[in-house]
């Protein structure tokens, strides 16, 4: 990688909203290239560091997963407010993905169906205040905040992620094309 001389490491924050962590797994799948990346970036809030809130002035936010509940909205807004570049990372972030297959169902009916008692006479929908409320639909990231780049794939392959990151870190506009561009 022909990275420019860069005295300051870029601050990267990552999160999985309504995702399966598959995109993060695929990210780790860049294997030994992680070492090369570690020389250039520093992780802020991320499942990798277990830091709970992102500091101001992150350079790059990778957002996995669509937006399915109130907590997702808060996390996403926090990342957007504190990051220069925000990336919809993976199929679910791009179009809601498989979780969005609930979008043609009514949430209320969905919950009562799932949590009703076996004889159907009553429901026991969890209502612990700790639990975030579900949104009416699962939304793609760009329907909630502004998104700078999209990286599709379920998950994007390690090579796709690497191509994207190296383009970005070397100051090019990221370009994902055949055979790296995949929606599945």
């Amino acid at each position: 990688m022909n990275a420019p001389m860069n005295p300051r490491k870029l601050r990267v924050t990552t999160t999985s909203l309504s995702g399966c962590f598959g995109c993060h797994m695929s990210f780790l799948d860049i294997d030994e290239r992680l070492l090369e990346l570690a020389a250039l970036v520093e992780f802020d809030r991320s499942p990798i560091t277990d830091i709970k809130h992102c500091s101001q002035h992150c350079d790059l936010a990778l957002v996995e997963g669509g937006v399915c509940n109130a907590e997702n909205v808060h996390v996403l807004r926090e990342l957007r407010a504190n990051s220069k570049i925000l990336v919809a990372f993976g199929a679910c972030a791009v179009n809601g993905g498989l979780p969005a297959q609930r979008n043609h169902l009514d949430v209320g009916k969905c919950l009562s169906q799932v949590y009703r008692t076996p004889d159907g006479s009553a429901t026991a929908i969890p209502d612990d205040p700790e639990l975030p409320l579900l949104l009416d639909k699962v939304y793609p990231v760009n329907e909630v905040v502004r998104v700078d780049y999209f990286l599709p794939g379920c998950p994007p392959s390690a090579d796709t992620i690497w191509k994207f990151l190296t383009d970005l870190l070397t100051g090019r506009t990221p370009r994902i094309e055949h055979p790296l561009l995949k929606f599945d």
Partner: protein, 253 residues
């Protein structure tokens, strides 16, 4: 260039394309190995001109390459950034107006809508998703219909009418309410005349009409558009034929 060659040729992006009278711009282009993006065209069926993916500029005016006849000396613009930008927008609108979740779709890798999106580097659907509520019909023993992925190209309508002679499918409704309906007393596919050896069962360019029990027989990664992007498969696009399962094979099931 002699007079005869001029009389039977035109140009696409400056390249000379020979044609035989009666051919459309798209047919002549594909026969000459030149790719023009298209979705509702199929070599076995009459042109329809509805998806507009094949829009080119002919002597300065927009036209559908799949319906407009090739004429001597016309100058066609095709592979230009402006036209490809417009095509990408058309694709994005097709994606958001249906429910396209490729990771869970049996057609992924064989899908022409997806292949076009890859080829034109459509990385996001851009527009607000409509997430429409559309039915799935699994009543037929060999074929299922998932209108969530239908792009209303009417290839099934044309194949059923013009090849199978059955009129199983029809487009009903207007504007945003347009949808494919099935010609049967109950409106369900299982009660229609469709059989698995019909062209209409195999012609759908997306994952809306799918044959049952073959889902992942060809694994993801080894499918039609995995090796080469669609723009480099002109030969396949020009000459592919609707795969019709021989009747004997169907009876054995």
């Amino acid at each position: 260039m002699s007079d005869t060659s001029n009389a039977n040729s035109f140009s696409i992006d400056g390249q000379r394309i020979p044609f035989t009278p009666g051919q459309t711009i798209l047919q002549a282009a594909l026969a000459a190995g030149v790719y023009i993006p298209h979705l509702c065209h199929h070599p076995d069926l009459k042109p329809h001109g509805s998806c507009k993916l094949c829009t080119v500029i002919v002597n300065g005016r927009n036209g559908s390459a799949c319906t407009q006849k090739a004429m001597p000396g016309i100058e066609v613009e095709n592979n230009t950034p402006t036209l490809n930008d417009r095509r990408r927008v058309l694709l994005q609108m097709l994606f958001v107006e249906g429910n396209h979740f490729c990771p869970g779709c049996e057609k992924s890798g064989n899908c022409q809508l997806q292949a076009l999106a890859y080829d034109l580097e459509m990385v996001s659907p851009h527009f607000r998703h409509a997430y429409p509520v559309r039915p799935i019909d699994t009543t037929h023993p060999d074929v299922w219909l998932d209108l969530n992925r239908c792009i209303m190209c009417e290839l099934c309508v044309r194949a059923s009418r013009d090849i199978d002679g059955k009129n199983v499918f029809m487009l009903a409704g207007r504007g945003a309410e347009s949808h494919i309906v099935v010609n049967s007393p109950s409106g369900r596919l299982g009660d229609s005349a469709l059989s698995i050896d019909d062209a209409a069962a195999h012609v759908c360019p997306v994952g809306a009409i799918l044959v049952k029990r073959v889902g992942y027989a060809v694994p993801i990664g080894e499918r039609q558009f995995d090796e080469q992007p669609i723009s480099r498969q002109v030969d396949y696009l020009a000459r592919r034929h609707i795969a019709i399962v021989p009747a004997a094979e169907t009876e054995e099931r």
